[in-house]
Amino acid sequence: MNGRPRVVVTGMGIVSAAGWTLDETWQAIATGQSGLRTLSLFESPRCGKLPVGEVVGDPQTRSSLASGSRSDHLAMWAARQAYEDAKFGTPSFASDRGAVVMGALTGGMMFTEEFLTRLHVEKRADGQHLDDRACCNSADRIAEAFGLGGFRTTVSNACASGGAALGLGCDLIEAGEADVAFAGGVDSLNRVVLNGFNSLMLVSPDGCRPFDAERKGMSVGEGAGVLVLESERHALARGARVRAWLAGRGNTCDAHHVSAPQPEGRGLHQAMRLALADADLAPAAVDYINAHGTGTADNDLVEAKAIAALFGEASPAVSSTKRFFGHTLAAAGAIEAIVSVLALEKQAIPPNLGLRTVDPKIALAPITEYRSAKLDVAMSTSLGFGGNNSAVLFRRPGTWEAAT
């Protein structure tokens, strides 16, 4: 330890195409059930037949919010689960010591689209719902619902946002700015992201197959993941159950290209290396990596190179879980961090669903079947447009001497 307070996970909440709860999500993973399905949320002439990770059902009925965007409802439902999972007593925490950091990209994009349609097609300017279009609304709603009166922000680091939000949550606790931080990510399906990725020819027509020799791209998804982070002392003082220690994180930028990753994966390599150094662990200590693994040609190749360069031939178990819920963009880092923590709890490795034959250019052997394993340390990686990379590293309770 380096004198900083440990930051532990005491609550988690999740929603994605794989399920509305932690249990449903893990059940889908354990039984190999993909949540990808044909888009039903809106009509799309060019993308309507593409498999997507759509959350089926109305998130507003779960969020208990009277208004807000689809992203807000998804985020609120995940936060509600996390709050209940953390089993806060009364009083839960000092309001000004409670922070919220959400990763988000598109917010209420559908409201923007509805407004522009009214303006250009119906020729009328009606500002209804426009105020709910901002991506920061989800963090605001969470803060309001749970009395988080401290530091509040929204991180928008493309598809690395969720991981970066977890890192910032740690920063706030370590700096003494907060005792408790709700940190995570959210994004919802909309016409812009679906057509945007499709225009870049990055979307698979038959569902993503990360690391596969015949992979054809990603599957766009939606969802939210929220983790309750606490200083270990605060958690132990209130008798909270510690689910994991968020022991390390790394964040870098390739500075290489606006949308493509650096071909050798140097930025991701450095982010993973920083996460290990932050946790004071050697590469050999890592038992499992939940890879970003989108299923695009570039991402998977680059990620595999970065992992191979850092871990060599003694690579830990690796899998991408994107085929369970699609690429949930800003939520991905948070959702996959939660899956990593669940893997530590369940002592089991999630399978790399959809993988038939590993791309021969990829020097990894992703785990294809759900498998029991002794896991003490798990890492989750994320890459995003603009060369943003993040890595977060979790340790299982019992693998360190708790603070007294």
Binding site: L105, E113, A134, C136, T154, G267, N388
Partner: protein
């Protein structure tokens, strides 16, 4: 921010902003009859910010951010080495809307021309970290790279994170930038929701004589960038970041209370261990909207009652209203401390000559967010 001592040295600053007079142009057809005014950067200035050979295609915000960072880097000369390429330099950007213009263009193409008209370049630029990643790409900064997109808390978040990275030893330099590019869609939004007025004359925050149709402010845009280092590394920094705090409300559409706002500022002073008597200037973010002027005036009155020598200044009459305007206010605060005098851009509304070794920058918005930053010599 609860650091002991001050948080970071500010070693350089650069700004891009429009002229101090609003520009008027017709409102979009079908939206409004009266012309609209805004503090808008002219095309020639915008074009001059980035050498043409460096530009493939950039959005307005990217050009402004690059211009501000380049000016900040240029101004390092004589004081310190410029931030190095590589992993030692972090980038922390606050921007509520980033390149929303490109996002709107992408969407409008889908609506007007159909999905076959989806243009990848607009999509890539619509992602909010397009600004921060373009800064990394342009200047070769490979350290931690964060984009904060939280309305009027965006710049303060970036500032906190930049200082934290330095304190934690995770960067040698932090480039902190606040930027907002004004696009027509935001003007439409703001006018429909009643935020913006139609009086074309410059804003007059806390002025005795109100503008016509005193309600509402005018939209603006701009960018300010700063080079920060950990305390004590540079012999003669421009100024020091002593404290930053930003908070949001716990209810939607809160009723603002001058008493609560004054309490917020006083708590910041207590938590930062700064005496009000040690503050020379309080720079207010009053944006010319008479609905907010009353709050700012009460806070100023409350502070002056406790420290009669305090000067009160405003600055939004030169840039208008946008979410990360506090970045430009921060640059003025730095300049006040660095020069120990009040630049022309700041209009002093109360008080007079004094010691300007410490400035308190305070903002409150109608949405209920508020922030305070303390800049010291």
């Amino acid at each position: 921010m609860t650091f002991s001592g001050y948080a970071a040295d500010i070693v350089a600053a650069g700004v891009v902003r429009p002229g101090s007079v609003p520009v008027t142009r017709p409102a979009p057809v079908g939206v409004a009859q009266e012309p609209w005014s805004a503090y808008r950067l002219d095309a020639a200035t915008l074009q001059s910010l980035s050498p043409p050979e460096r530009i493939k295609r950039m959005g307005r915000g990217q050009e402004m951010a690059i211009g501000a960072v380049q000016r900040a880097i240029d101004s390092c000369a004589g004081r310190t080495d410029p931030p190095a390429r590589g992993s030692g330099t972090a980038v922390s950007v606050g921007t509520a809307w980033a390149e929303e213009g490109d996002e709107i263009t992408f969407l409008e193409n889908l609506i007007k021309l159909g999905e076959k008209a989806a243009k990848p370049a607009y999509f890539v630029n619509s992602v909010k970290n397009a600004l921060a990643s373009q800064l990394a790409l342009t200047f070769g900064f490979q350290g931690e790279n964060q984009t904060f997109a939280h309305d009027a808390l965006s710049f303060e978040s970036a500032l906190w994170q930049g200082a934290h990275l330095l304190r934690a030893g995770r960067a040698r330099h932090a480039i902190v930038c606040g930027v907002e590019a004004l696009v027509e869609f935001q003007e439409i939004h703001g006018h429909l929701l009643g935020w913006y007025g139609t009086d074309p004359t410059p804003l007059a925050p806390l002025a005795a004589k109100k503008r016509a149709a005193g309600q509402g402010t005018l939209p603006g845009e701009g960018a300010a960038a700063f080079v920060l280092t950990a305390p004590g590394i540079v012999a003669s920094p421009l100024a020091r970041l002593a404290f930053v705090r930003a908070r949001g409300p716990l209810q939607r559409a809160p009723v603002l209370s001058p008493k609560a706002e004054l309490a917020f500022v006083e708590k910041v002073l207590r938590d930062s261990d700064v005496s009000l008597d040690g503050v020379g200037l309080v720079l207010l973010g009053a944006n010319g909207d008479s609905a907010l002027d009353g709050i700012y005036a009460e806070v100023a009155r409350g502070l002056r009652a406790k420290s009669p020598g305090l000067s009160i200044g405003v600055y939004r009459h030169i840039i208008g209203d946008f979410a990360t305007a506090s970045a430009l206010g921060f640059e003025l605060a730095v300049r006040v401390v660095a020069g120990r005098s009040v630049p022309n851009e700041v209009r002093v509304v109360d008080g007079g000559p004094g010691s300007f070794e410490r400035v308190l920058l305070y903002h409150v918005t109608s949405a209920g967010t508020h922030s305070a930053i303390i800049v010291s010599a």
